[in-house]
C-alpha cells in the first residue's frame, strides 16, 4: 500500500494559512480580547454619559420640534447600529462559510440579540418621537416599514441560532440567512431617498459638513461612538461566554474555570 503512506507535504502558503487560522481560534480570541472588555466598557460609559448629559441638558432645542428632538440622541445611534450590526452578521456569515472560522460564527451569535434589541429600541423611540412630531405613533412609511422588516429578519436569525444551538450545524443556517437577508439592507438604507417619505433624510454624510449646529451634532456623534463602543464591549463579552460554553471540554477552559473560583 504505497499510496496510503504518501502524505502530501503542505505548501508554504498552506502553512501560513493554517497559522492564521490558529490565531483566530476560539482560545486565542478569548485570550486576546478578554482584557479589553473593562477598558472598552469604561470608554463607552464615558462617551454615553457625556453625550447624554450634553444632549439632554446643554444642547439647544430644535426650532421646529422643540425639546422632543432630544430623542435623536438615542434614536439615531440605535437605528444606525441596528443596520450596521446586520451588515456585520452578513460579513461574519461569509467568513464562517468560506473560511470556516468558527469564531466568526460565535461573534455573530453573540451580536444577533444585541442587533435585535437596538432595532426594537429604534422602533420604540422612533414611534414615541412620531407622536409629538407627526401626531401619530405609527405610519406605514417606507423607512419605518423597512426597519420593522429588519426586526423580523433579526427575529428569524435569532430563531435559527436558537434552533440549531445543539447541533453540528450550529450557525450555518443562520449564516446563510444573514447573507441572503442582507439584500434588504440597501432597501432600508435608501428607502428615504427612493420614496418620498415623512422621515428625515441623512444629516451626516462624508462629503458635506453637517447642517445642524455643533451643539447638536457633537453630542450625537459622542452617542454614536459610545454606542459602537458599547456594542463592541458586549460582543466580546458575550462571544467569550459562548466560547467557554463551546469549549467546555478543553483543558484551557477547565484551567480558566478553576482560576475563576480561586
Amino acid at each position: 500500500m504505497s499510496n496510503l503512506n504518501n502524505i502530501p507535504t503542505p505548501s508554504l502558503w498552506q502553512r501560513i494559512w493554517q497559522g492564521f487560522l490558529t490565531t483566530v481560534g476560539t482560545k486565542q480570541f478569548f485570550r486576546l480580547f478578554a482584557p479589553w472588555v473593562k477598558w472598552l466598557a469604561v470608554l463607552a460609559g464615558i462617551c454615553l454619559l457625556i453625550g447624554s448629559v450634553w444632549g439632554l441638558a446643554f444642547a439647544p432645542p430644535d426650532y421646529l420640534q422643540g425639546n422632543s428632538y432630544r430623542i435623536i440622541f438615542i434614536h439615531v445611534p440605535a437605528a444606525s447600529l441596528a443596520i450596521s450590526i446586520y451588515f456585520a452578521l452578513a460579513v461574519l456569515g461569509v467568513i464562517y462559510l468560506v473560511w470556516k472560522i468558527k469564531t466568526a460564527n460565535l461573534v455573530a451569535q453573540a451580536l444577533a440579540p444585541l442587533g435585535f434589541l437596538l432595532c426594537v429600541i429604534s422602533l420604540l423611540t422612533g414611534s414615541i418621537w412620531a407622536k409629538p412630531t407627526w401626531g401619530t405613533y405609527w405610519v406605514w412609511d417606507a423607512r419605518l416599514t423597512s426597519m420593522l422588516i429588519l426586526a423580523f429578519l433579526y427575529a428569524g436569525v435569532m430563531a435559527l441560532f436558537v434552533a440549531f444551538e445543539h447541533t453540528a450545524n450550529r450557525g450555518k443556517a443562520a449564516a446563510i440567512l444573514c447573507i441572503v437577508g442582507a439584500v434588504n439592507l440597501p432597501i432600508i438604507k435608501y428607502s428615504v431617498q427612493w420614496w418620498n417619505t415623512l422621515h428625515q433624510g441623512s444629516t451626516f454624510t462624508l462629503t458635506e459638513a453637517p447642517k445642524m449646529s455643533a451643539d447638536m451634532w457633537m453630542p450625537l456623534l459622542l452617542m454614536i461612538i459610545g454606542g459602537y463602543l458599547l456594542v463592541a464591549t458586549l460582543a466580546i463579552y458575550r462571544t467569550n461566554t459562548l466560547i467557554l460554553y463551546r469549549d467546555q471540554g478543553k483543558a484551557w477552559v477547565k484551567e480558566y474555570i478553576r482560576g475563576q473560583n480561586k
Binding site: 446643554f58 432630544r70 423611540t125 414615541i128 418621537w129 467569550n240 467557554l244 475563576q260
Partner: protein, 70 residues
Amino acid sequence: MQPYFYSLSEFIAMGDHGVFVWSCWAITVGMIFIFIWYSRYQRQALIRQLTIQQARQAQRGSNIKKPSAS
C-alpha cells in the same frame, strides 16, 4: 458651556415633551441594562455550572463515558 434649562422642574418637563423624551430614555436605558445584566448572568451561570461539573468529575475520578450533553 451653559445648561439650557434653568431649573430641575423645567428640565423634567422639557417644554411639553418631557413624557416623550424621558420615556424614550427610560426604555432604552432599562432595556440595555437588562441586556447587560442578562449577559453577565449567563456568564456567571455557565461558570457555576462548569464548576459543579468539574467538581463532580474530580470526585468520581472515573472515566465513565457519558454521551455529550448536546
